[in-house]
């Protein structure tokens, strides 16, 4: 089935002018008389002309497309992020081509090469957990396509990078709790091999140390990032005897697991034990009682990353390896008793 599009030539034919005149009129070039422009715009309406952006892009050597690579769209964090990137892109008249790596290095590489083939004006990428080979990124640098990493980066490559200031955020949240008299705080940690797990855990340790609270290694339970990991962690903690006042869970799924496990005991949230997690406001509200969180607003990150990239594309930002660490806020909800 052949599509059916009008071209500038069609308009020119109908009006008996050259297609250059049409092209100029459409871009409101001063060369063309008002009368001519009027006639041409009328014909555009009548014929239903929609300019072929592909041809325009080829001619201008500029696509106004941003290429995005995310590990996984089913993670609502990334969904929100992409959503906000689309918003920011649209404001600057960019379209986006979205690709997903499924945390696989091969897919990520293929996606990036494909986006380069599409001649995107810039790349926004959150590297997969597997990624170690820098060669694709070397190629990106060689063809001089601006690239901004978000949330996760290969630091040694010195592209621009936007992420949350997890460690500081953790410090601040715990400082506040400690200043209100909470001292017994456990941590259901992620893997210390991942940067997220690492940053959060070291924020936890530092907060305790700063406040001269001894660190109980048996209260740092390293598990994973899923609901079941939260359940297992709480069971282990519960079996251990003495309970903390507050559990700092490495994300909302682990927090959900903790909720489930706690409900199986005689304990009540927040009366007997409080829970603090990391995550999105919207997911926190689904919990009952609502989960207190170190609020990671993906929309903020998306906007900042997109705007930074667009600045680099347009040559506004000279510095091609800016690092931005976003401050996040502690949101004290009903999963922790106010003191």
């Amino acid at each position: 089935m052949k599509t059916n599009h009008i071209t500038q030539q069609d308009i020119a034919d109908r009006l008996n002018v050259s297609r250059i005149t049409v092209s100029k009129a459409l871009r409101n070039h001063p060369d063309i008389s008002a009368e001519m422009k009027r006639r041409i715009n009328k014909a555009v309406e009548e014929l239903g002309y929609v300019p072929n952006l592909i041809a325009k892009q080829l001619s201008l050597q500029k696509t106004n497309i941003l290429g995005i690579v995310v590990p996984d769209l089913e993670n609502s964090f990334f969904a929100y992020l992409v959503d906000s990137i689309i918003d920011a892109a649209k404001e600057h008249n960019y379209n986006i081509i979205l690709t997903v790596s499924r945390e696989r290095e091969v897919f990520e590489k293929n996606n990036i090469m494909n986006l380069i083939g599409m001649r995107v004006d810039g790349l926004l990428v959150c590297v997969s957990q597997e990624t170690t080979d820098p060669r694709v990124f070397d190629y990106v640098r060689r063809v001089k396509i601006p690239l901004v990493f978000f949330d996760r980066a290969i630091k040694e490559l010195h592209f621009s990078y936007v992420a949350f200031n997890d460690k500081v955020a953790t410090l601040e949240a715990l400082n506040e709790l400690i200043s209100r008299g909470y001292t017994k705080i456990a941590h259901f940690a992620g893997y210390s091999s991942t940067s997220i797990g690492n940053e959060r855990c070291s924020g936890y340790r530092e907060a305790l140390i700063n406040n001269k609270i001894p660190i109980r290694e048996d209260w740092i339970i390293e598990g994973g990032y899923e609901i079941d990991d939260g359940i297992r962690a709480f069971e282990k903690l519960y079996a251990g005897g003495e309970l903390p006042e507050i559990i700092l869970a490495v994300n909302d799924r682990v927090a959900s697991g903790a909720y489930k496990a706690i409900r199986k005991t005689e304990l009540k949230i927040p009366d007997d034990i409080g829970i603090l997690g990391y995550g999105l406001n919207d997911s926190a509200r689904l919990f009952s009682p609502t989960l207190s969180i170190i609020d990671q607003d993906p929309r903020k990150m998306g906007r900042i990353a997109a705007n930074l990239l667009i600045d680099e594309i347009q040559g506004i930002s000279q510095n091609s390896h800016t690092e931005i660490l976003i401050d996040t806020e502690f949101q004290w909800n009903t999963s922790i008793l106010k003191r």
Copy 2:
């Protein structure tokens, strides 16, 4: 900052052949000798040639791009859906340009016109709640770009359409519960003005009628689609005196509201009252007890819609207004006592 790309001409120059020879060799045309192809492929490697897809698209009059319009990516239903569309598209070597309408008719229209400008090979659209004006879609038909509606459609336009069989799914789920002896079932409904609210509610009514259970209008509480609507609905129900055995909530946010409101009373889920919702498996598992759902698998819908569109693009599917209603499954989780 100018990007830095190699062209077929560059390869031809280096090898002292014509660029046509290069073009043919790259597409493995039988015209070209094996030796020549070997030399050209070697040069491709050395120079790091990545074909310019924009130029290819213009030449072939085919972009291998699917345009997507969703109302909102922050709704995880759509995020999953887009994710699965990307999967299906990739398998057939299509890229996707993703746009978001924010439930606004104007944005939707602009997005579609923009995608037409990009000369996408086909469109996947879930219309906004506001949309009434068919003109953009008339234009889509006129330029002969294949379009498939998903989840929500303007039926009169007779484009292809993929959705869930909500009414039948509701009937089946309730039949099962009723056959296990549940008869007192309330419904926290959405608005009857929306097709989702309508389908689900009429499934509810029909199930009761089929099973000769009298319909209590005071047990059909029409609210909205948010957490607070679920809270309000339960408060109203609770104030009303007699309580049902089961609440059928129109979505997971309303179900979450019901959970919250119930927790404020002496009632226990599932011992005193059971909850049934519509939604995704993943969100259902975050509830404790896990929410029983009429499982709406967005990945299924995404794949079916994408494959249907690709069939239409490739002229495999003759029928340009296929309607597919997807069966959904009842998932009995711990929010309803097994009988």
